[in-house]
């Protein structure tokens, strides 16, 4: 009796989840198939979910509109450097706030937290002017610098580091370890899940960032993928198959990163204390 109900409930759960998954992923599957279709087939109704013939030309075709390889490398370079530096800087600050008692610690941490509330749009115009003064417009450094500091990341890592027992550190200090050694050999390895979570957040944020690169980059050599894709929609809105090929290329690297770091995700979100 109870078992029968449970089975029914499981089936209903599967059914609803499947519908949700279809709604959430069909646009991607359609995008994937569109990337291989030709110009006519891509807009044909009724739509075919699989292309009648797999056509790889679309991926080459993108080169006519913008240098895909170049934009892809720019995106990878900027995202890797930004997320590495962001995670490192956040971990360093978080270590201080979580594990070292000093005068002014509370005040400084509050300053960090306040900046989390100010939307990027407030700082973006003066930042542009500042970068103009330092000749950072249209440079890699200009793309990377604003992304390497994250109050949110500091907060997330600090929350995690607070759970590392102080006795561990005390033992290390008694053995004569330096702060740098404790940080590198104890704190960082013990914070792996939180670090992995921040890596995904940082990488995702940087990979998908649109507004800042849109403002700061003018030359084709430095543009990132979202800029390239948005250029396509402006001028070539009807070349859907080429657009979808571009979309597919921009999606794959981020998907790979996500798959690698996925198992830490839910744990990381739980730990960061966002659930309250």
């Amino acid at each position: 009796m109870i078992d029968k109900n449970a089975l029914l409930r499981d089936m209903i759960t599967h059914l609803i989840l499947l519908v949700a998954v279809v709604i959430l992923t069909v646009p991607f599957i359609w995008m994937l198939s569109g990337a291989f279709k030709d110009t006519l087939e891509v807009v044909k109704l009724p739509p075919r979910f699989l292309p009648s013939k797999y056509n790889f030309d679309n991926f080459k075709e993108i080169g006519k509109y913008f240098p895909m390889g170049r934009f892809l490398l720019n995106s990878i370079f900027v995202s890797v450097v930004t997320s590495f530096l962001q995670v490192l800087i956040c971990a360093m600050s978080a270590f201080v706030f979580a594990k070292i008692r000093f005068r002014g610690s509370g005040f400084l941490f509050m300053l960090f937290m306040i900046t989390m509330m100010i939307p990027f749009q407030v700082t973006m115009t003066p930042l542009y002017v500042l970068f103009q003064k330092f000749n950072l417009i249209d440079t890699y450094l200009g793309l990377i610098l604003p992304g390497i500091f994250s109050a949110y990341g500091t907060f997330l890592l600090r929350q995690h580091m607070l759970t590392i027992p102080n006795v561990l550190l005390e033992a290390a200090f008694i053995d004569g370890a330096s702060y740098i050694r404790v940080f590198a050999k104890l704190i960082l390895p013990l914070s792996k899940p939180a670090l992995a979570t921040l890596v995904i957040f940082a990488f995702m944020g940087c990979w998908n960032n649109f507004l800042w690169p849109l403002i700061i980059i003018n030359s084709n050599e430095l543009m990132t993928l979202p800029l390239g894709l948005s250029m396509l929609t402006g001028r070539w809105a009807t070349v859907w198959n080429v657009l979808m090929a571009g979309n597919v290329i921009s999606f794959i690297p981020i998907f790979v990163v996500y798959l690698f770091a996925q198992k830490y995700f839910i744990r990381g979100i739980t730990m960061s204390g966002v659930k309250g």
């Binding site: 409930r9 499981d10 759960t13 599967h14 609803i16 998954v21 959430l24 646009p27 991607f28 359609w30 995008m31 807009v43 009724p46 739509p47 800087i89 360093m92 600050s93 201080v96 070292i100 000093f102 400084l108 300053l111 960090f112 900046t115 100010i118 939307p119 749009q121 407030v122 700082t123 973006m124 115009t125 003066p126 542009y128 002017v129 500042l130 604003p146 500091f149 109050a151 200090f173 008694i174 330096s178 702060y179 990979w207 998908n208 649109f210 507004l211 849109l214 894709l229 929609t233 979808m244 921009s250 981020i254 996500y258 995700f265 839910i266 979100i269 739980t270 966002v274 659930k275 309250g276």
Partner: protein
């Protein structure tokens, strides 16, 4: 904490905090102060800024384009927040059940989250295309003549809302899932013994226990909504006839297209004011409904 030597301790604080602190000052505090000053000037990037007091702020609420953008942003919030809240909560409850293929479902709902807004916007412009779009084709199969979604004055904003819910539902579902997993299994076991139905268990145990998560999601969803931009710029560019223009879209265009830096700065401070007031209000109201006892 340990570390006997005071000098060493302060040296460590200095070294470890320096990069973060430099970032805080250079990329946050300094621009914030400059922005506050610029908002009181009529700066056009070329000539010297003139101090004009609060005139820009008055204009933010008087100028038609700016007012429309503010109104649209609130329309977006009213449509988006309840929809994304209810759908992600429902999804999380299902994802939390112990069933087969759980990992697959959890990964699949996250696919839209990791995709850039630009890519998502492009896919949906294609799906929402009036003549050759997938959605109108599906609707025509059940005898409904679909509108030209993104080019229709009435339907453009609902379309943006729909796509935004679609993109974000997985993210908030995972946050709810994290909250649900914190609830001890004993509560459910006890309720089951007392004869509570699964629905009752969700309403009487899960819901009150994850009010902190609900609070967090509402706050974040609101803050994100106020910053509505990427999807608008790529999907409609604010059109048709301003139907989807948003505050940030106007800030961007005023600052970097029309060279009205001072006005854009004032708009961004008004945006911050909205976020601040709404967030503060939520923190005040939370005492009435958020339950932190575990």
């Amino acid at each position: 904490m340990a570390g006997e030597n005071k000098f060493k301790k302060w040296l460590a604080v200095l070294i470890f905090l320096l990069p973060g602190l430099a970032g805080l000052v250079l990329f946050n505090l300094y621009p914030i102060l400059v922005s506050a000053y610029l908002s009181l000037t009529d700066w056009d990037l070329l000539t010297k800024p003139h101090f004009i007091g609060f005139a820009n702020y008055a204009d933010v609420f008087h100028e038609e384009k700016s007012r429309i953008a503010i109104g649209n942003t609130f329309k977006f919030i009213i449509g988006y927040v309840p929809l994304v809240l209810v759908s992600s909560l429902a999804l999380a409850i299902l994802l939390n059940r112990k069933i087969r293929f759980q990992a697959f479902y959890r990964a699949a709902v996250f696919v839209p989250v990791i995709t850039s807004w630009v890519a998502v916007s492009i896919i949906w412009r294609w799906i929402l295309n009036g003549q050759s779009g997938l959605l109108n084709y599906l609707l025509s199969q059940i005898g409904i003549q679909g509108p030209i979604w993104l080019s229709d004055f009435f339907w453009a904003m609902p379309s943006i809302i729909m796509v935004s819910v679609w993109k974000d539902v997985g993210f908030f579902a995972i946050i709810f899932l994290a909250g649900l997993q914190e609830i001890a299994g004993e509560y459910y076991e006890a309720a089951q013994i007392d004869g509570a139905t699964p629905l009752q268990q969700q309403l009487k145990i899960s819901l009150p226990m994850i009010t902190p998560s609900i609070f967090f999601v509402v706050v974040i969803a609101m803050i994100n909504s106020f910053q509505l931009f990427d999807q608008v710029l790529v999907m409609t560019n604010g059109g048709p006839a301003g139907a989807t223009s948003s505050i940030v879209e106007q800030i961007f265009k005023n600052a970097f297209k029309s060279g009205r830096m001072g006005f854009a700065a004032a708009q961004s401070w008004v945006l911050f004011g909205f976020i601040f007031v709404v967030t503060l209000l939520q923190y005040q109201l939370q005492k009435r409904w958020v339950n932190y006892d575990r």
